[in-house]
């Protein structure tokens, strides 16, 4: 654990010794700030005059502004996340420092956790930016504390899950650009699969003429497949949570997602032992 901490400190510091950290956090702050101001102004206009915007009364603050804004922040993190994660292991490989890392007394898991923690550190810095917006809001609007906390936690979990994917991709290549592009590509593919699933009809596609048992099993597989595709996009489970509705399966989704890709990263790093 102490070793992970050493790796993490070095990794996190190097984000801010190089311009990467400032660029990433700065871009995030600029875009999320603009988005926040725009949606806040829009909400203000709507609440002054709900009728013109087809609302019967002043719309719910949490539902109309807060939750979409938090989901947007999550999506934004997914967009610039590859810039944070692409260097984690690919850069070590590229500049040969992997040889130092792997000949120092560090276990593979200590390296992986250290790197992952450093990426989560970057995520926390970005969450800090979001928290500033929310603090300002809470001075003017009464928002329940729990909603704020869970909202932030949602964005964090979504980012954390996505960063584990980025870490894994970074472990399979020695080129940062490849790692970044692949991470982004994978997210996009998951997203597209999700929107395909939206268009899939709910009904059992098996023809009526087939036997009942066969038809049922096809239907079962189809439902499973459809549900699976549906939940692939990484923000699917964040939508409800961002409103402050916490369900165990949403949390489990993100925790398992991260655990799965950390496990793959571990395997990928370990593969040097059996590959030539």
């Amino acid at each position: 654990m102490r070793n992970s901490w050493a790796v993490c400190k070095r990794e996190f510091a190097s984000y801010f010794i190089t311009p990467i950290g400032y660029v990433v956090v700065g871009t995030f702050a600029a875009i999320s700030g603009l988005a926040f101001s725009a949606s806040f102004l829009f909400y203000a206009k709507v609440s002054v005059n709900p009728g013109t915007y087809a609302y019967s009364s002043v719309p719910d603050f949490e539902e109309t502004l807060l939750s979409p804004f938090l989901t947007f922040c999550g999506t934004l993190i997914v967009f610039i996340g590859p810039l944070v994660t692409m260097r984690l292991l690919a850069e070590e490989r590229n500049r040969g420092t992997m040889e130092l890392l792997l000949t120092h007394p560090l276990r593979d898991r200590e390296i992986i956790f250290g790197k992952y923690l450093a990426a989560l550190g970057m995520l926390l810095v970005m969450m800090g930016v979001v928290a500033v917006h929310l603090l300002i809001v809470s001075r003017y609007v009464h928002v329940e504390g729990a909603v704020l906390v869970f909202g932030l936690a949602t964005v964090f979990m979504m980012g954390a899950a996505f960063f584990s994917l980025g870490l894994f991709v970074s472990s399979v290549t020695s080129n940062q650009v490849t790692a970044g592009a692949l991470t982004f590509g994978l997210w996009f593919i998951l997203y597209i699969f999700g929107s395909f699933a939206e268009d899939l009809p709910e009904a059992n596609p098996a023809p009526e003429a087939w036997g009942e048992m066969f038809r049922n099993s096809v239907g079962f597989l189809y439902d499973f497949f459809r549900g699976f595709l549906h939940q692939l996009p990484i923000d699917f489970h964040a939508k409800e949570m961002a409103k402050g509705i916490v369900q165990p399966e949403d949390i489990a989704y993100y925790v398992l997602f991260a655990a799965f890709f950390l496990f793959l990263t571990f395997r990928s790093l370990e593969s040097r032992k059996w590959r030539a």
């Binding site: 102490r2 070095r10 992997m98 007394p105």
Partner: protein, 256 residues
């Protein structure tokens, strides 16, 4: 301290090292000689736990590299051939990081970093960024990180490559001093270096050991220099084994 038993490493079909066995005692400096691509770096990477052997194993500082890699890594200081460094870090913070990773206690870290920096002549570059260091200083920082934590075994892959003559002499002196209380495995293709620094030589060619003895013994009875011994051992091996193998490849890398 180092005992290699039948180390073999395949890269695909190609055997980079084949059945390499040797041992180095405590307080001994073993010169590891061979033309380029002979398998020196591969052997060292196996001993340091960077890449595992396809067959065979080694015991380093009392621990098996396959079953106790972490214990081995705690006791080995390794200077890789290309001297990879974290370019953006200061020399001092890089060495402090290495000290932390190697398990030097918090209170002793600064003193330990100071000790190795003094030993490797780095005191005037402590606040420089690794990326901007000259080749000579890079090499010294690489050596310094290997020395941190005072590991009993040192594995140095071509430590004097790319240095100017004065630096070469300095580094050789450092290695010689280290050899008094450390076990050192030193690879090089600069032959005079071996005569100056090492007690014993191991010549490797195309992945196999072709000669292994003390410098004095290898030259005994003849007036031959180490160069001649090296060339004849390497050429002999090429002629014995594969008549078709180009002899030029074997002798060309000798850096004479």
């Amino acid at each position: 301290m180092i005992e290699a038993k039948g180390l073999t490493k395949y890269y695909g079909q190609l055997a980079a090292v084949e059945d390499v066995s040797f041992s180095v005692d405590r307080g001994e400096i073993l010169g590891f000689l061979g033309p380029n691509a002979a398998g020196k770096t591969t052997t060292m990477r196996i001993l340091t736990g960077f890449s595992p052997p396809s067959r065979g194993t080694a015991v380093v500082a009392g621990y098996d590299i396959k079953s106790d890699p972490i214990e081995v890594k705690r006791r080995v200081g390794y200077l890789p051939e290309s001297v990879p460094l974290y370019g953006e870090m200061l020399v001092s913070s890089f060495l402090e990081y290495v000290a932390e990773v190697k398990g030097v206690e918090r209170g002793r870290r600064r003193a330990e970093v100071g000790r190795v920096m003094e030993r490797c002549g780095l005191l005037e570059v402590t606040r420089r960024v690794c990326r901007n260091l000259s080749k000579g200083y890079r090499q010294r920082v690489g050596l310094a990180q290997a020395l941190i934590g005072d590991p009993p075994v040192l594995i140095l892959d071509e430590p004097t490559v790319g240095l100017d003559p004065r630096q070469v002499i300095e580094i050789r002196q450092v290695i010689k001093e280290l050899g008094q209380d450390h076990t050192v495995l030193l690879s090089t293709h600069i032959l005079p270096e071996v005569t100056m620094v090492c007690e014993r030589v191991l010549i490797i060619n195309r992945g196999r050991i072709v000669a292994q003895d003390t410098v004095a013994n290898l030259a005994r009875g003849t007036a031959r220099t180490l160069e001649e011994i090296f060339i004849s051992a390497v050429a002999q091996d090429a002629a014995d084994d594969q008549p078709a193998a180009p002899v030029a490849a074997a002798t060309g890398g000798g850096a004479l």
